[in-house]
Assembly symmetry: C2
Homo-oligomer: 333 residues x 2
């Protein structure tokens, strides 16, 4: 059973995920090994290699856990958290633990092993975003869950262990630290000025333009003022909306267009870089929020997290966002 443990000094939680356990010797070899086409559990015809699907989109029909799907969502076979059980907390001297209740799912984005997200069409990407939303709406009904993170790791240096294009969803029994800091920062701004800070940022970036990458009717894409990594890029809806899962279908198409163009530009500028993206959305149990504003943060994995970052929480970034944005604006995709 996975376990959540709290650092007694900082209050930071970690997930000790014993189901994914490796013997220490496993760390000696092949850190970056990814599972390729031969053993791929996400390819059509190998549906039995994953736990039974919780969602699939099938334009041309076919029954569950058989080929014919366009997007398929399955529980992670080696979950960081487990759905079964009650949420128990206990102490051990000055230490605290909680059992690892939650969900860990994989969104298989395409049946085609060789496709990357950046090479997909807008309708294909929209379908993936719809799958994110459908899973969030379903999991939101589980009252034990407080927050859902959706993210993608592309490339071995960004933490992928499976080559076949996929994203992941982790639903947690607590609101994680970084999310709480973001929510609280946004709430403070709203208290002072009665405005959403993300709406303010969108307004300033659109006016100033030096960090702007692109925009369409509904979304704006820019390099943030204080990026942690070179070419960090945010995709933010122009209209205020706190929860990703509350977006109506019409707007997901615009989001797909913005995400696709962003990934294509990053690919053309940097040569298919490894990257992570994270959907930042309001916690599940809060009502729609006037102060928080959902968005996607894309982080190319071009630098390593090293001693300074571990010790300070600061990041050193050698590329000013104004230069990254200019490069992404002008690059030919």
């Amino acid at each position: 059973m996975p376990e959540l443990r709290k650092d007694p000094v900082t209050g930071r939680w970690v997930i000790i995920s014993t189901d994914r356990q490796k013997r220490p010797n496993d760390f000696r070899f092949d850190r970056a090994a990814t599972i390729g086409r031969d053993q791929c559990p996400f390819c059509p015809g190998r549906e039995s290699l994953t736990p039974p699907e919780v969602l699939s989109y099938r334009q041309h029909g076919g029954s569950a856990n058989t080929p014919g799907w366009d997007v398929r969502v399955v529980p992670n076979k080696f979950p960081a958290l487990q759905v079964e059980g009650t949420l128990d907390r206990e102490g051990e001297g000055i230490f605290d633990r909680m059992n690892g209740i939650g969900a860990h799912e994989v969104i298989v984005e395409t049946p085609d092993h060789g496709r990357t997200l950046a090479s997909m069409s807008e309708p294909e990407i929209e379908r993936i975003l719809s799958a994110y939303r459908d899973r969030m709406l379903d999991l939101k009904q589980d009252r034990r869950l407080r927050h859902i993170l959706i993210f993608k790791n592309h490339g071995a240096a960004a933490g992928t262990t499976l080559e076949h294009s996929h994203s992941q969803l982790i639903a947690l029994p607590i609101v994680p630290d970084f999310v709480r800091e973001e929510i609280e920062g946004a709430r403070r701004h709203h208290e002072h000025r009665e405005r959403c800070i993300f709406c303010d940022i969108v307004m300033q970036e659109r006016k100033e333009r030096s960090r702007l990458v692109l925009e369409n009717e509904e979304f704006v894409v820019f390099a943030p003022w204080a990026p942690r990594s070179p070419f960090e890029t945010w995709i933010v809806p122009k209209r205020h909306e706190s929860n990703f899962e509350a977006e109506p279908k019409e707007r997901l198409g615009y989001c797909a267009q913005a995400l696709r163009s962003t990934l294509k530009r990053l690919g053309a500028a940097l040569g298919d870089p490894p990257y992570n993206f994270i959907v930042h959305s309001n916690p599940l149990r809060d009502t729609p929020s006037l102060s928080y504003h959902w968005h996607i943060e894309v982080m190319p994995a071009l630098t390593h997290v090293a001693g300074f970052e571990w010790g300070s929480g600061f990041h050193i970034n050698p590329v000013p966002p104004e230069e990254a944005a200019e490069f992404l604006r002008l690059v030919i995709t």
Copy 2:
């Protein structure tokens, strides 16, 4: 001039280090390239390739910036922060920036290009720790500086770009987020119980023994309760002391012994893994603190920081610290 920028939502600072600037195309090639023996600026005889030294230990004499040194400290040629100038803050709409005042130094740990820290003798490691202390005591006199971080990146996956064994020092005009969280957590514990939380942890780990790796007269080495990475290991002085630079010389030898044995065990267990270590010490401007307790955190770089970690601040660790500690206790070095 490097620049500190504050994220308007979370309050997180990043260093935009334009002096280290690379053209975007530089990111396309050879992310992990490290500078080897041929172009090494840290080898004896190449002293002119670095800025003039700020400290050297020379058992057998020799003048500054010539061969003959055992340990040599130089300003970083591509500093993340610069010593010159006054500390200015300014706004840009809703955004904040500060100029990048601070120091960034490199501690060249040995004249021998091929030596690793783990292979050095105790007196050699003690000499390096002394250099850390001497530089901290010197920089402490600069009233603009609020905190000093000393850290080491070993191996390309841990962020090293130069092969020759070295550590780094960054002195900052602000107390970084992670340090502030640690200090505040320790202060809360002290308010409630009138005890240092690290002293409490040391007591519990020595009693329980399941996470203990080794101890000597003055230091205890253990796997922390909530480790962020597999085989994360802490080296903590048994006697309460908030500031690394306040340690008397006699105790640095015990620290060197504990650090050496820790690195040798990690090397034997994991096969010379890439790692970071960070010296956690009290900020410069606080008086000696009853609640904070300096220590060293060693983090093997065996897993990648991926989307989930970026989004949550949580870490997923597949190796329970009890298993890691047992392995490190029993491994033959």
